[in-house]
């Protein structure tokens, strides 16, 4: 879909009596399909913060979370023709975000493996790359959290990915078990079981707060 078509074809939505902010997700998707840029912008404004927050808690890396959140919307935009309204749009967009986050975690694992392999292959220490510590300032002061928050975030981030996604969706994003099951494409029993297991693991990690 070309961006130059968006303004013309979005006229129907803009001219309708219902304000764009009151339109449902599905209506906005339909408007976006017909090239309405404003409709897509509304979708972005509705979901950019939840998706960014979800990805941040999933990855424990703000910049990566923002990057993947943008990638999520890019994918939604280009795959919008294949979206079916048989389930909620939030389920659809969280599923994309989850898959991207899982891919990113796996990439990180591979990178770490290659990095370690390369490190031990060096015979001469002078040839090793210098990696200074990351001392950049966080983009938002709100991200500066107290120690307890960092510990909790760290505990979540160290969970295996199959437990991390459901517990974040449940405890941070407030999704129901059914929604989580749909997002992760799991059975309801499996979802509950994983959330229960994640809770148990977190209690072990955060013993000092109990």
């Amino acid at each position: 879909m070309a961006l130059d078509k968006i303004e013309n074809s979005g006229a129907e939505v803009l001219q309708s009596t219902v304000p764009i902010k009151d339109l449902s997700d599905h209506a906005l998707i339909e408007a976006t399909k017909s090239g309405d840029e404003a409709a897509f912008a509304e979708i972005v404004s509705r979901y950019r913060n939840p998706i960014t927050n979800y990805l941040y808690r999933f990855l424990n890396d703000y910049e990566e979370a923002v990057d993947l959140a943008q990638e999520t919307f890019v994918r939604v935009y280009f795959a919008i023709e294949r979206y079916h309204t048989e389930y909620a749009f939030s389920t659809y967009i969280y599923r994309i975000a989850t898959n991207l986050a899982i891919s990113e975690i796996r990439k990180r694992k591979r990178r770490n493996l290659v990095s370690l392999t390369g490190f031990f292959q060096f015979d001469n220490e002078d040839e090793q790359d210098f990696h200074p510590p990351d001392e950049k300032v966080l983009p938002d002061e709100d991200l500066i959290e107290n120690e307890q928050s960092r510990t909790i975030a760290q505990a979540i981030a160290t969970l295996p990915e199959k437990y991390r996604a459901p517990i974040v969706l449940r405890e941070i994003e407030g999704k129901t078990y059914e929604e989580i099951a749909e997002i992760l494409e799991l059975g309801l029993g499996t979802t509950k079981s994983r959330i229960s297991r994640a809770r148990k693991m977190l209690k072990e990690k955060l013993k000092k707060y109990f």
Binding site: M1, L3, A41, V44, S45, R48, N49, I51, T52, N53, Y56, R57, Y62, A65, V66, A69, Q70, E71, F73, V74, R75, Y77, F78, A79, P139, D140, D142, L143, E145, Q148, S149, I152, A153, I156, I167, E171, I172, E173, G174, T176, Y177, R199, L202, K203, L206, Y209, F210
Partner: protein, 293 residues
């Protein structure tokens, strides 16, 4: 989301510890997207290629399709190679360079499922030394109407099987006149040359039935395969004539020689029932001296 609301919505009853854990996690501050999120998003959409977001089964097909075609062709070739017998491509000359003895295999009559192609009265053999073909005489009365040309060198096993080869060979009474069979096989080289379309396994199944139906004499063998015409004289085999360009001629057998032994074993005119005779040397008496050829 408020924890209590969440609990009410799901009707979930949590333990005290789980409740506390939920509060702890819920206490985490929510982060928001940066202010320039929309700007960067538009830039990414503008720079992205829609083809990058198409379903990814095409790259799979790109490799799977040619691979499956190649596998199919390979399987076709292997299948045909294993099950298609191309007799036309079989060599007409079976070669074996090892110095193996000449071996004649005599097969009794059998109902081979092919039409014989033996030229009346002759078969052509390759000369032992220089490799030029030599002809072996076959009695005309026993020669089938069809013909077959057989070329072999000295190390090859030659087996000619014909129901009409001699009068001692017992043909079936009801067998047609022109149904004589010919077969040549190599001895040590293990290559068997047969007329086109012959299934070598089939005659072997039928052989036991006719195993004892035929017998040959030494004279007949020498005549047919070595071109040495013999005459029984006082219980001894006297060479009556040696056909030109025959194995016997090439080996130096001359008319008037008396064949005393083959491979050291004295010969007699009694019929041979064994199927295979190995001929390494022939002992002849020429005048007063005894020569081994």
């Amino acid at each position: 989301m408020n924890y209590k609301n969440l609990q009410e919505e799901n009707g979930e009853i949590l333990s005290v510890e789980d409740e506390k854990l939920s509060r702890l996690i819920g206490s985490l501050k929510r982060v928001e997207a940066p202010k320039d999120f929309d700007f960067h998003l538009k830039a990414r959409i503008a720079n992205a290629k829609p083809s990058e977001f198409q379903p990814r089964f095409m790259p799979v097909l790109r490799y799977v399709l040619p691979l499956s075609v190649a596998v199919f062709i390979l399987a076709f070739i292997i299948f045909n190679g294993a099950f298609f017998v191309d007799n036309q491509s079989a060599p007409m000359v079976a070669e074996n360079n090892s110095p193996a003895p000449v071996q004649a295999q005599i097969l009794p009559n059998a109902d081979l499922p092919f039409a014989p192609q033996v030229e009346t009265g002759s078969a052509v053999l390759q000369k032992p030394e220089n490799g030029t073909p030599v002809e072996i005489a076959i009695p005309s009365k026993s020669a089938p109407k069809n013909k077959e040309t057989v070329v072999a060198n000295k190390s090859q096993l030659i087996a000619v099987k014909s129901e009409k080869t001699t009068t001692n060979v017992l043909p079936k009474a009801d067998e047609p006149e022109d149904s004589g069979n010919s077969r040549v096989s190599a001895s040590t080289g293990t290559k068997v040359i047969t007329p086109q379309g012959i299934n070598l396994n089939k005659p072997a199944e039928q052989a036991p039935e006719i195993e004892n139906q035929g017998s040959f004499s030494i004279g007949q063998v020498l005549s047919q395969f070595f071109g040495v015409e013999t005459l029984s004289e006082n219980g001894k085999l006297k060479v009556k004539a040696v056909k030109g360009k025959s194995i016997g001629d090439a080996s130096g057998v001359k008319a008037g020689d008396i064949i005393e032994a083959i491979d050291g074993a004295k010969i007699s005119e009694t019929p041979l029932n064994s199927k295979t005779i190995e001929v390494k040397k022939i002992t002849v008496q020429r005048g007063t001296e005894t020569i081994e050829i």
